[in-house]
């Protein structure tokens, strides 16, 4: 018993110790993102200039883990200051009270595209789901809309679709079925699944960007739904892949501050910088993801700009993150039922 008490005491002491260490080093921001080239670019475009300007050290951590974020907030032991999350999660987490409200006296809200800002999160970047295809796997005619995905006669081959029950697949099925863009929500799930049934056996599900590129470039699939940045990267490498921007489906990542973040004030300043015109333009030039700041467009590289969603705004359908934040759970229930049927 004494032994056990000592263990508990030692454990507590180490906790207090680490808390003290954290408060001593007040001038840091712990930044959490998805790793890989995205986080490298975020370091280069946002963190390094921010540190040079303000003297605040930005500690890179990751990958983003929604479960961990919730556990930290619930246990009151928050180690993350700024987290890059998907837009629908940002809204769901806000509804659950897991996020700090943002201070818009520090962050300039009016220059950010209103689609990508909320009381608890500001856009990190935005991207589009586009129709990508491998010309060597399909006939002479080029697919030019989501309905091509469902036309396996004209365009034979497998289809790559995003695996998780999140905004995208349901919407593209409804659009292909002739639902008007402004009538998408509330989502008609029965109609969407009925449409998807037609190609269910031809679908190859992808769970990450690298996997999706591999599927398309190798010809494993003839076409599918892809993140625009990944298609652009394939084209840069010389892979013969084509893209259609018609009704490109806009999705975004948000930057959020978990409730109880240790360096809240510095985190707000970091968000102000990251969502500013300069930070957004630089990040876009490094990644081919689109900037959320309205003033960034003119600073984009000339040869990159046509390949960004910002150049295809007339064709955009913005996915309703708030709708998904609210109904995501029940949609996932239906989704799983349909999937394993």
């Amino acid at each position: 018993m004494v032994f056990r008490k000592r263990i508990v005491a030692a454990f507590c002491a180490s906790l207090i110790g680490s808390a003290a260490a954290a408060s001593a080093a007040a001038d840091t921001v712990n930044f959490v993102s998805w790793g890989g080239t995205t986080q490298d670019a975020q370091t280069q475009a946002w963190a390094d200039p921010f540190s040079a300007e303000t003297g605040v050290t930005v500690v890179q951590d990751g990958p983003t883990d929604y479960g961990k974020l919730k556990a930290m907030v619930e246990s009151g032991n928050v180690q993350w200051d700024v987290v890059d999350v998907e837009a629908d999660f940002a809204m769901r987490a806000a509804n659950e009270g897991l996020l700090e409200p943002l201070d818009f006296s520090v962050i300039q809200r009016d220059r950010i595209d209103p689609r990508f800002v909320s009381d608890h999160g500001v856009g990190s970047f935005y991207f589009s789901f586009v129709l990508g295809y491998n010309p060597s796997r399909i006939g002479a005619s080029k697919p030019d809309s989501w309905s091509a995905l469902f036309d396996t006669k004209t365009y034979p081959g497998k289809r790559a679709l995003y695996k998780w029950p999140s905004p995208g697949v349901i919407e593209l099925a409804l659009l292909a079925d002739g639902v008007a863009e402004d009538k998408l929500y509330p989502l008609d799930l029965d109609r969407a699944f009925k449409k998807l049934d037609a190609i269910k056996k031809d679908i190859v599900w992808w769970g990450g960007g690298a996997q999706s590129q591999q599927l398309l470039a190798s010809g494993e699939v003839s076409m599918g739904q892809f993140w625009n940045g990944r298609i652009h990267a394939l084209q840069q490498e010389g892979a013969p892949v084509g893209v259609s921007w018609k009704q490109n489906l806009v999705m975004a990542d948000f930057l959020v501050i978990p409730k109880g973040a240790p360096n809240k004030a510095a985190a707000m300043k970091f968000l102000a910088n990251a969502s500013g015109a300069k930070g957004q333009a630089e990040f876009a030039n490094l990644t081919a993801y689109a900037p959320v700041n309205l003033d960034s467009v003119q600073s984009l590289d000339a040869d990159l700009a046509p390949n960004l969603p910002t150049a295809h705004e007339a064709d955009q359908v913005t996915l309703d993150f708030a709708y998904w934040a609210k109904h995501g759970g029940e949609i996932a229930g239906r989704w799983n039922e349909w999937l394993v049927k």
């Binding site: 056990r4 263990i7 883990d65 929604y66 479960g67 919730k70 999660f89 769901r92 987490a93 659950e96 497998k158 695996k163 998780w164 029950p165 999140s166 679908i203 190859v204 599900w205 769970g207 996997q211 591999q214 190798s218 010809g219 494993e220 995501g328 759970g329 996932a332 229930g333 799983n336 039922e337 999937l339 394993v340 049927k341």
Partner: protein
Amino acid sequence: MTALRTTLVDTATSGKARLASDRWRGAPYLLPALIFLGLFFLAPLIGLLLRGILEPTPGLSNYAQLFANSAYSKVLFNTFAVAGLVTLISLLLAFPLAWAITLVPRGWGRALLGIVLLSMWTSLLARTYSWLVLLQASGVINKVLMAFGVIDQPLEMVHNLTGVVIGMTYIMIPFIVLPLQATMSAIDPMVLQAGSICGASPWRNFFRVFIPLCRPGIFSGALMVFVMSLGYYVTPALLGGAQNMMLPEFIVQQVQSFLNWGVASAAAALLIVITLALFYVYLKLQPESPAASATAR
């Protein structure tokens, strides 16, 4: 050997009371392990299971939600079907391998065992991706088969049940080979010889003498593989199709995307209960185990 036999006879002839007290004599030495497991395994596990009935409101609503959704029972079925299939196939493949390792001259046996172990040193993710490269429609196997005119259309070996079973069987084989080989090398070859001298045909000798002697190795290897397969995430996620979703993937979805920890822990709790029930049946079937001793002996 003689010494061992004497001890056995000693134990058998001594009184039952002494046997019982002997059995618990070493118990205090278990304490460190028990404390460790209690603090770092049992306590968090209980905490996890409690979430299933406490979140978001106390009651059985999470369980009701699970059973109301037809996906869950299908996912649960998938999980046990895949685990069972993987166990069976790994066993069929590992048995001859373990036997070969036992039979070949000692140096060769070590080398073979080394190769089996070597596969375990490489990253799981890398090995799973290599299977993807081999098995996919434009992959090595399909290209070779098509070049030789064996097939016209690429075989669908990945993003479905086939892919999962191939990938997982490959990963699980060492976990059966090791206990099985240990059991086999401990079998006295004279016993088999005695079998044939007594007139048993080779088949009879194999099924009635050799297999029963291998049983402890088969049982422990199969159990390990089965239980590990139930909780496997990476390989099914990469090599399987979404239609073959297994429970770990379902749980990850609930934990990560929807923060539905109540439902996730209810799903995990059901998996634990079913696994424990199966484990009990297994112990009953295995004559060497304490649970079976009451009835089988």
